[in-house]
Amino acid sequence: MEPEDSKQEDVKLVRGIEAGDRAAEECLLQKYRERVLLNVRVKMEYHVMAEDVCQEVLLALLETARKPEGIKEPENLGNLITVLCRNKAVDWFRKTKYQRREVDIDETQEEKLGGTHGVLTEDEKSGVDEVIGALKEIDKQILRLKYLVGLPYKQIAERLHRSESAVRKRGSRAYEQLRNVLG
């Protein structure tokens, strides 16, 4: 769906929810649940509690939408939802600040990696292992620097003494191979 069509749909859904239409609520939740979950997961660095925070966001969204004129600009619903996600994530960080310090570092790492979103199947894992095993050393370096260290291609190119276009091409190729095995 094109962004403009999506905004028009949001306006209709919000008007429906205001009027007490349950189907419109379900439709709105279905439309945004996945996006909200991803958004919160990213903000919470893939913490296992992301799912709970996602539910809080969706609940707050519905409560706001149910109020008459609760959502002033339904055509900018995306903006409102991102604000809700940020606020709920910040709330969660504040609430758990002291608890999280006591968590073992390895456990935190495990949570960040796993979270609750689509754990890889055994087939996908073996496919990923096969692709990575077949990569050249330079491609593995690029993947590490790009996705584990988080460097942009330009800096990776400087670090590896290669042209940015070559690094970008290699990185994209490795990414595509992984994307293919992950379906």
Partner: protein, 241 residues
């Protein structure tokens, strides 16, 4: 936020790795909340990044760190990518030919020409007899062996119609096509004879006529014409009994 911006600035990966500025993050989130295509890409990228992190954690993505190369490597890669472009390949081919041709000329043609310019002992000299009658131009031709490298054509003009004439000469082939020409033919020697040094490689075997025109200096027009027929014969025919 445009599609090009998202692709070129690696927005999706940077978003998932929390490398965007708060303003960029806000803009991108607003965008993918209403753009199905971008959200699909974010989901894909999230899974790939998760898989990479998972592989690193399991020790699958290990690197030796031996990929650092010399500072000249980017230059060579750029040349490699250029060579694969058809326009560049065509240009490079033309340039190579443009460079190879003079090299070939210098290595092959020039030495041959230098060899031909060397003095030649026993160069034959031929005395041509003229006729002013075109109908009789085929009679009394002399034959010049094509294997003779250099030969000299000598002739004398006993008649002249102007007091201080100038001369123009040309050599024409069987089809009356001019193969050589000069506007400044002058008599040499005490007897006022003329001579023209020729190289046999200039002439294909066949019939030729040396035409000499007497020019009236005042009018600039030809006032008389002398014809000297000769034949260049191949070595094989010459050597037949």
């Amino acid at each position: 936020m445009t599609y090009d911006h998202i692709q070129n600035d690696e927005i999706i990966e940077r978003y998932l790795l929390r490398k965007l500025s708060p303003e960029e993050e806000q803009l991108f989130e607003e965008h993918y909340f209403s753009c199905d295509a971008c959200f699909a890409q974010v989901k894909e990228a999230e899974k790939v990044i998760y898989a990479i992190k998972d592989a690193a954690r399991r020790g699958v993505l290990v690197t030796s760190g031996a990929t650092t190369r010399s500072a000249f490597a980017p230059l060579w890669e750029r040349i490699e990518s250029l060579l694969l472009r058809p326009a560049f390949a065509l240009g490079a081919t033309v340039l190579a030919i443009a460079l190879l041709y003079p090299a070939w000329q210098g290595l092959v043609t020039l030495p041959r020409l230098q060899n031909e310019l060397q003095p030649q002992a026993n160069a034959p000299s031929y005395q041509l007899e003229y006729t002013t009658n075109r109908a009789r131009a085929g009679e009394g031709k002399i034959a010049i062996n094509a294997a003779t490298r250099t030969f000299i054509l000598n002739f004398v003009l006993l008649e002249k119609k102007t007091a201080t004439p100038k001369y123009r000469a040309e050599i024409v082939d069987d089809e009356n096509k001019i193969v050589w020409r000069t506007e400044t033919l002058k008599p040499v020697g005490e007897f006022g004879g003329f001579s023209i040094a020729c190289h046999s490689s200039f002439f294909a075997p066949g019939n030729y006529v040396l035409k000499v025109y007497e020019i009236d200096p005042a009018e600039g027009q030809a006032v008389d014409e002398f014809l000297f027929p000769f034949v260049i014969v191949p070595e094989s025919e010459r050597s037949k009994p």
